[in-house]
Symmetry: C2
């Protein structure tokens, strides 16, 4: 399946003219990268209602919070790889969380360049409050799929992601 071509292009011809030079026709609405970006944006928006509108966190802060919720402590430098944020984004997100009293930082005892981040108890409370909503959103999204569609989707995402590494 070649998603982004028009039917005419798939047949190797361009509207009007019969197949001369190989068709170079791209239909944006059918172009896979565009469709994927669009869907991801829709999903992101739907999920952002949870952490952004209800709890006024940025997307980056939410990601960091999600990581922090699963561990007691974590070195700042580990956050980036886990959240796909660069170090500046992590720095800003953690600062944001610290400012609101959601996270706190302390120096690493053996390496004074590093900082160790953890949730405050207020942060942990917030985490426990948000997560059910976040999981609910995810479940609602996946609920429109059949069991096997969800499985294929999972596989497809892994495959593509791996192919792009």
């Amino acid at each position: 399946m070649v998603m982004g071509r028009s039917d005419a292009a798939r047949r190797g011809e361009t509207a009007g003219r019969p197949a001369a030079q190989a068709a170079a026709e791209l239909v944006l609405q059918q172009y896979f990268p565009y469709r994927l970006a669009r869907l991801a944006e829709q999903v992101s928006l739907a999920v952002a209602e949870v952490y952004s509108e209800r709890f006024s966190l940025t997307r980056q802060e939410w990601r960091v919070l999600a990581i922090l919720g699963a561990r007691q402590e974590i070195a700042t430098k580990e956050i980036g790889p886990l959240t796909t944020l660069d170090k500046m984004q992590v720095s800003r997100a953690v600062q944001g969380l610290e400012t609101r009293g959601i996270a706190s930082r302390k120096p690493h005892p053996d390496d004074r360049r590093e900082l160790i981040v953890s949730l405050t108890s207020a942060g942990r409370t917030l985490y426990r409050k948000i997560v059910p909503y976040a999981l609910e959103r995810e479940a609602a999204l996946l609920a429109v799929l059949t069991e096997e569609e969800a499985e294929v989707l999972d596989r497809v995402m892994r495959k593509m992601s791996a192919a792009l590494t």
Copy 2:
């Protein structure tokens, strides 16, 4: 399939403690909205090599160019819905294209608020140059999938997108 929960959470318990309060554990790496955003970003980056690095267009300009390539002329106000860009993004993208001599604008004869956009011949040449690369990228992405995986993916994207409208 509930992607974003840990196995323990799926069993209704949290590490160490047996199932007491309903598990509220979220594993970011398995959380569907995160995974989708990540994949879309990877794909976007891979495709951006084509229009951004090789031809120094922004994502928005590329979308507008893609629309323009399929039509002779188009009213500015029609571009937004077709590209999922808001009117300010369209305004900037078209300006960018105009500045580089890729697109040109003329006033609408019957409504002087509107502008009609079309590609210059340089723009059309650029379009014909880019499109094969863009389609190649798409094909390479889809090539990692089986025929039926691609079909399910197509269906899944439609379903989800529709559910979020």
